[in-house]
């Protein structure tokens, strides 16, 4: 089926303002959901689920959170990992200390705690912008990790500061296999992504973008600057907090504060830069690029090595192959940023616009 809008007439504002106004997009989204919810569980191996898909979804969620703050509201942040840490440790403590606490509620409350911390560290955004704000959010990064190590209460006085995620039970079902963890993560990520899409096409999303693009005009038009910025910090940190809780409960199982370093914040920032700043889809594409590509490269390099071995009965030493992966990865990042500085999502959008008119150039 061609990607065309021709013949799809909209006769009401309701149909024109649907979440996916073009029929082909709706079909694609439903197909993708069917793939993720039905096909993947049927065919994916445990390794694929627990080592590739679950982290991909969790990073996509964290990237989505950062994208709301940086991409939509224009507030640069380097505290993403810190907000994830708050989410992970808050969820742990809620389940640990509140008897009978349902895990999903703990996740929501963990997101709420992260949102509070986010608002607190978002306060400087009222006075400073851009790179200076990024430096200010570094404070969150270092403070949160320091606090989690310094006060052993957070990790329930475990000697090494490591927390072990409790067993998850939802509606009487133990979430213990990779498949169940994958389904839980996928459901949460899908719902939150839809909510994000709805927010950015509503009044609050326009408020964020207005503040990002021209804050004086936004204020004159009636958007309260302080509330808009702090809401962005709250919503973004909520997403990061839930991602952090999933990181501990659905992916790693045991985490320590040091897992949430500045390194992780940067990784998530790179995801949205490569995927597309100010794009929901871009968060997923960027997470895919950063999480999946190294694995893919690893497979390709191994395969090439195997071919080389059978042909020339010689293979590259392991030190070279592993560095080769990194070199190709770095090269690809630079390549994509040169081809399209606005990220993979923009490439996708340009492709769609071209397809609409194809095969006619105008």
């Amino acid at each position: 089926m061609l990607y065309r809008e021709a013949g799809q007439f909209k006769t009401s504002y309701a149909t024109d303002q649907q979440i996916f106004p073009i029929r082909q997009d709706r079909v694609a989204v439903v197909a993708l959901a069917a793939l993720a919810f039905v096909v993947v569980p049927l065919i994916a191996t445990q390794y694929w689920l627990s080592a590739i898909l679950i982290p991909f979804l969790i990073f996509a969620l964290a990237a989505l959170g950062l994208n709301i703050l940086t991409g939509y509201a224009g507030q640069l942040s380097l505290g993403t990992a810190a907000f994830m840490a708050v989410g992970a440790f808050a969820a742990y403590n809620f389940v640990l200390r509140v008897p009978g606490m349902p895990v999903l509620l703990a996740f929501v409350l963990a997101g709420g705690c992260a949102a509070l911390v986010g608002v607190l560290f978002g306060l400087p955004s009222l006075r400073i912008k851009g790179f200076y704000l990024a430096v200010a959010t570094l404070a969150a990064q270092f403070f949160v990790v320091w606090a989690l190590v310094k006060f052993p209460w957070f990790s329930n006085y475990s000697s090494s500061g490591v927390i072990t995620a409790q067993k998850m039970t939802i509606l009487g079902i133990d979430i213990d296999t990779p498949l169940r963890k994958y389904m839980l993560t996928l459901t949460i990520v899908t719902l939150l992504a839809l909510a994000a899409k709805n927010m950015v096409r509503s009044s609050i999303g326009r408020a964020w973008m207005a503040v990002r693009d021209m804050d004086v005009a936004a204020e004159v038009i009636g958007f309260p600057l302080m509330r808009t910025k702090l809401t962005a910090f709250a919503v973004s940190s909520f997403y990061c907090g839930v991602a952090g809780a999933l990181y501990a409960y659905a992916y790693l199982g045991t985490v320590e504060p040091e897992a949430f370093t500045l390194d992780l914040s940067f990784r998530i920032l790179f995801m949205i830069i490569i995927g597309g700043i100010g794009s929901i889809l871009g968060s997923f594409l960027g997470a895919g690029f950063i999480v999946l590509l190294p694995i893919f490269l690893n497979i390709v390099v191994h395969w090439l090595n195997g071919v080389a071995q059978s042909l020339f009965s010689a293979s590259l030493p392991a030190s070279i192959t592993s560095n080769l992966e990194l070199m190709v990865f770095g090269g690809l990042i630079i390549f994509f940023l040169i081809v399209e500085p606005h990220g993979l999502a923009r490439l996708w959008q340009i492709g769609k616009e071209k397809l609409r008119l194809w095969p006619f150039p105008h």
Partner: protein, 263 residues
């Protein structure tokens, strides 16, 4: 040209003794004037006379050191931008201040933000009140799009538009708020004659159809003299003339300010 069916009413905005300085630089000194309901009030003056500062004082971007602002019977020292917007003051900017990353439609929708009351949670689910508000406000925005004849660029990101259309979109965004007082900062700057004529028509139509009171800064004397009811003339932050276009045109101080004086 002006006049017609509309009736100029009571004074709705009164500025008294407004003085504004930035450090040692006096931008405005002791300026008083008023604006009546439904009228088109022009502010003119040479470059650096303080015209834009005057607008910034009216809608609260700048806070004057002295003087009072009376709007709709409420007297205060200064306005706060958010409060000004709530009270029905909308404006356009001299250097277009559109939201570059958003479509024309979204830009105009931002003008309606004060009428949207749904909470974030409702917006995230996009159900009930949030959805109803989106649709109702979209209908209103479409009215304005029709009024300003910009239907064809509805979905275009504003960053891609030519200058003249950007100015028109900015006017649309201001109108979307259904303001009672509209401040236009050089709406015709940088336009060719045809675009200026279009813009004049829109300004007059807005004034007549919606009864909006308009305060306008403009350099094109032909335009100012044609469409405005009363004119304030500023020079070096002082008021040197005030009255109908004919009175102002005959004012010696104004002529000196524009043509220069022999020393």
């Amino acid at each position: 040209m002006s006049g017609g069916g509309r009736r100029i009413g009571e004074v709705i905005l009164r500025l008294e003794g407004i003085s504004l300085s930035f450090g040692g630089v006096k931008a405005l000194s002791d300026i008083s004037f008023d604006v009546r309901e439904h009228e088109i009030r022009a502010i003119i003056g040479p470059n650096g006379a303080g015209k834009s500062s005057m607008l910034n004082v009216i809608n609260g971007v700048y806070r004057p050191q002295q003087g009072t602002i009376t709007f709709h019977g409420e007297t205060r020292r200064d306005m706060v931008p958010h409060q000004a917007a709530m009270q029905g003051i909308a404006r356009t900017f001299q250097n277009i201040a559109l939201f570059k990353g958003m479509s024309v439609l979204d830009n105009i929708m931002t003008g309606r933000n004060l009428r949207m009351k749904a909470t974030i949670l409702e917006q995230a689910i996009h159900f009930g009140r949030a959805r109803r508000e989106e649709l109702a406000n979209r209908a209103k925005v479409e009215e304005i799009i029709d009024f300003l004849e910009i239907q064809h660029i509805r979905r275009t990101p504003v960053g891609r538009l030519p200058y003249g259309l950007m100015k028109r979109v900015e006017l649309a965004r201001a109108l979307a708020a259904e303001p009672t007082l509209l401040l236009l900062d050089e709406p015709m700057a940088g336009m060719n004659v045809e675009e200026k004529q279009d813009m004049c028509r829109f300004v007059l139509d807005v004034n007549e159809q919606y009864g909006t009171t308009i305060v306008l800064i403009e350099h094109d004397m032909g335009v100012v003299m044609d469409i405005s009811d009363r004119v304030v003339v500023l020079d070096y932050g002082r008021k040197i003339g005030d009255g109908t276009p004919d009175v102002v045109r005959a004012n010696q101080a104004v002529i000196d300010a524009y043509l220069g004086v022999a020393h």
